[in-house]
Symmetry: C2
Subunit: 367 residues, 2 copies
DNA sequence: CCTACGATTTGGATCAATCCAAAAATCAAT
DNA sequence: ATTGATTTTTGGATTGATCCAAATCGTAGG
């Protein structure tokens, strides 16, 4: 189907181009382009007449074409390893919000914790000429990946976990401090036997938690009790049971994440014990379900939404200034105390179901 | 910084183009292009020599440039309204997996249930010339939106909810049948007072549930008891309490989604009642947490991962054949019976925490 | 009236691929 | 060896924007 000749704008079929608008407004292609990019060079009268033509012809900007010449796609690649995890969901929501404000749009990929899948996606992102990458590295990612990306000249901000050597961009939480807060809180409640469960893989986020745990325990002159396990609900369920059968069972446990804490609470019930009374339980993440469990779970809030926003901000900064100093944004966690570690105040009355704080709350509605 | 002349390939700086490879392999640009697109036209020997040059020069395909000429971006836009909801997380994971297999990549946006935000994103997607859209329409979306997209010549598959008039592409679950399954199950358990709570907005997914409820209840010769509420946990918490205070309280409730069901169970406990014994509770979605609640929640499983895969498949089909007949894929829900509706079998022993079926299971690990 | 000078505007080249009609190379049959 | 039919390869045009150096406009100053 032959396109109509250029000088006759064809509003219905085919796409309207800069050329068409230029003809309609009686100016040149270049001028229209300047108007589109809000350049101050264009005279006010011209600007308005061009705008009118744009509206009249129903023009649609072609970012692909623009990107070809300007080598800026206004596009970012985001890689997470488990988008079904609400924690990442919230983080992605934060990223999305921050990018939206800057007229950026993001590709999302779910690596399923497979370095191969992750690499394939990154290569595809390169082919699409994204301006940068937000990477939450899959378990077992080769540390050289960051240099590879550097070699590609691809700005990359790591999120939550990090690999490779220190001068990199990174946004995450201070897990070390988070665990310390938990320990301090439990000690203040009178606990002396405080165990930590979770984490066998040694990525940055796991190591930080261990550091925090051992340091805080030592600081209080207590003996550490640490169990390496997988990071699943079931692992929590099993770990707590084996701990409680030991000669001197712990009176409190801190879990690598909330899921494990849920499992641990279920494990306690299985033994006929009551979480929060017979053994305190503290989780990490403060997912929305933490407020809803029975009993409500004390948890180290790690603010995924805010981390997502920060990471996006960092990425945009790096894109604007590729050679600026690398930056690390480490948010401070906050301890959200609830009944699972608060025997004293434990009331049989779950008054109203506690709501997470407004900033990160999103109504969990379903279709 | 001036580019080196074309005939001297510059592997290090700047990007290698088709031209460079052509020169290196001693063929023309066109031939290289054909090799890249796996065209059968090229002779085997030529193909190999070109492949060698591609490898040698470290060429990176420029999809943007390709898209400009071929008007196919290998790109899709995905709009959901709450990515922090694990239900959508799982759905997006399904979409991602299906697209990955076909070498497609997707933009993701979170509309936050705002039609304005949604529209802005769709416009941006049009500027990026995505090949198609997967849309889970925000609450209150103008039904004309679908025609608008049609006018844009933009293939669009609706997911989970739908708006506009019937000849459209759609992937979702048969909520009507799901609720019917729940009613039948409860009746089989001897219940005669079965209430339904949830849903004040009248989008397709809500209406379908109502239809299923009223039809099934009438089919059993029972009296309906239906409460319109918001779709939050708190709404479930409050609704159940007001229901239980009525002269003839229900012996079972079906909830619009699992979150509300969790709220309802908490509400029952608040009244000193035991969910599953004093009143059966059934949810919808079968999110992973359903297996973990106390008691474990009976729920209508709606398979978000599979829906995502189907939706992606539909979109790719529509892109390949824009004028083919519109298609609706409606998956059948399955009732996942657990203790919250199974008083007879209720054991005090939560044996091992039940795991969701392998197909849709993803370890909920955290960094 | 002419010249500067700043403010606007412009045309041609360019970005990196694909499309397509036509040319060149290869092979088979006469 | 020539013709005809295939099989491969190719150059030039095209896609829709941006870049940039140069052209044009407007007007204030001499």
């Amino acid at each position: 189907m032959p396109r109509a000749p250029r000088h006759t704008p064809t509003p219905r079929e085919g796409s309207v181009t800069l050329q068409d608008i230029a003809a309609h407004a009686g100016v040149s292609r270049s001028t229209v382009s300047l108007v589109l990019r809000e350049s101050p060079l264009v005279a006010e009268r011209t600007r308005e007449s061009v705008r009118a033509s744009i509206k009249a012809l129903g023009y649609v900007y072609n970012r692909g074409a623009a990107a070809l010449r300007s080598s800026r796609t206004h596009t970012l690649g985001v890689v997470v390893y488990d988008i079904a995890n609400p924690f990442f969901g919230a983080m992605v929501a934060g990223i999305d919000a921050a990018l939206h404000r800057e007229n950026y749009v993001s590709f999302l990929a779910n690596s399923e914790d497979s370095p191969q899948r992750q690499l394939r996606f990154l290569e595809r992102m390169r082919e699409h000429r994204v301006d940068g990458i937000l990477l939450c590295p899959a378990e077992g990612t080769d540390p050289a990946l960051i240099e590879t990306l550097g070699g590609w000249n691809m700005p990359c901000v790591q999120v939550l976990r990090h690999i490779g050597e220190p001068p990199f961009d990174y946004a995450g939480t201070d897990f070390e401090q988070g665990v310390r807060l938990a320990v301090d809180h439990l000690v203040a409640q009178g606990h002396r036997q405080i165990a930590f469960i979770g984490g066998e893989a040694e990525h940055s986020a796991t190591l930080a938690r261990w550091r925090g745990y051992f340091a805080a325990i030592a600081g209080h002159g207590l003996a550490p009790r640490h169990l390496r396990t997988a990071l699943t609900r079931r692992a929590g369920f099993e770990a707590i049971q084996s701990l409680m059968r030991e000669p001197t069972p712990p009176t409190a446990v801190i879990c690598h994440n909330d899921l494990m804490a849920f499992g641990a609470m279920l494990g306690l019930k299985r033994l006929g014990l009551t979480p929060g009374i017979d053994c305190a339980v503290v989780g990490t993440d403060d997912v929305e379900e933490a407020a809803l469990s029975d009993p409500p779970l004390t948890s180290v809030a790690t603010h995924p939404y805010a981390i997502g926003e920060e990471a996006a901000r960092l990425a945009l900064r790096r894109i604007a200034d590729p050679d600026g100093a690398r930056e690390q944004v480490i948010l401070s966690p906050r301890l959200q105390v609830r009944d699972s570690s608060n025997a004293a105040d434990r009331s049989q009355d779950p008054a109203t179901p506690p709501q997470p704080d407004a900033r990160h709350a999103r109504p969990l509605t379903n279709p």
